[in-house]
Amino acid sequence: MKAQKKVLLEITVIIAAAAVFGFVYTFITNQGFFAEKDGHDTSTGSNLEMISLENAKELFDSQEALFIDSRHNFDYNRGHIHGAINIGLDSIKTAGAVLETIPKEKIFVIYCDGVECNSSIELAAELNGLNFKNIKIFFGGWQEWKKNNYPIDYQ
């Protein structure tokens, strides 16, 4: 019983140390939770980047980026970010002709419904595989954009 208590205490100490290390490290390096709060881009070590709402809005205002809505066509038609095109995961193959006309260096901002969906990541990975160099994933997605009353379109 005493030995079990000792192990339990040690496990608690290890997990606490890992949590402190992790949060201090990400705070110092502006990554993870702290990257979003500060509005910095967060590199993913590949061609993909996760960006915050502020970064997405900056790119929107500068008109440098092409916004891609990765949701289903039905959701896209009910409302989407102004100027965004719809490439759902199921339509990536049929979108080949459109993608061929876009320069590989073009900045893409991909979003889906919000933080709970992953189709933006999957589409980003697909486009990364097609050698597009500047892919950014706006994780807050449609819900965060709409909540802030930023420009939207209906179709």
Binding site: I14, S43, G45, M50, I121
Partner: protein, 164 residues
């Protein structure tokens, strides 16, 4: 006959409790976990994406996991190598391996073609597969082995203490 059985049991036990073998297992698991933690610590956001690819948890929980899990791997790996809290480190490493394996099996069942995110966060690196399950199973056996013994052999931390 009984003597033979007894000597056989003793020889199996002596292999399982062999301090050199246990030290080798500690080093193997420890080094694997330290190495696997480094890329994740360097880029926690890429690791968040790797976790999200498994489609099991949402963004917030994935970010929290990517913040805490890599240092946990590092501390447990160093714990096994140096002999600091070896039993607790072995327990946590075994628990992590079981969870990782369940995640890989679940992703394979759902037909996900994703990278493991185990050692490198490059999306093209090391896709999940049955080999990964086999690797993890081997490490789980090593982890359980460490949990079943009492003497963990050399504790490097004691060597440092003695020098002082």
């Amino acid at each position: 006959m009984e003597k033979e059985q007894l000597s056989h049991r003793l020889s199996v036990k002596s292999i399982l409790t062999n301090t050199v073998l246990i030290f080798f297992i500690r080093l193997t698991l420890g080094v694997i976990f330290v190495i696997s933690s480094l890329d994740k610590i360097a880029d926690p956001d890429a690791f968040t994406l790797s976790i999200l690819n498994y489609k099991v948890i949402g963004f917030g929980l994935a970010t929290a996991t990517a913040t805490i899990l890599p240092p946990l791997e590092l501390i447990c790996g160093l714990g096994l190598i140096l002999g600091i809290y070896p039993r607790s480190s072995a327990f946590l490493i075994t628990a992590m391996l079981v969870i990782f394996t369940i995640m890989v099996i679940s992703a394979l069942i759902r037909g996900l073609d994703i990278s493991c995110g185990c050692f490198s966060q490059n999306p093209d690196a090391e896709k999940i597969g049955y080999l990964k399950i086999l690797e993890n199973s081997g490490m789980i056996i090593m982890g359980i082995w460490l949990l079943c013994i009492r003497d963990y052999g050399v504790a490097f931390i004691r060597l440092f203490r003695q020098k002082k």
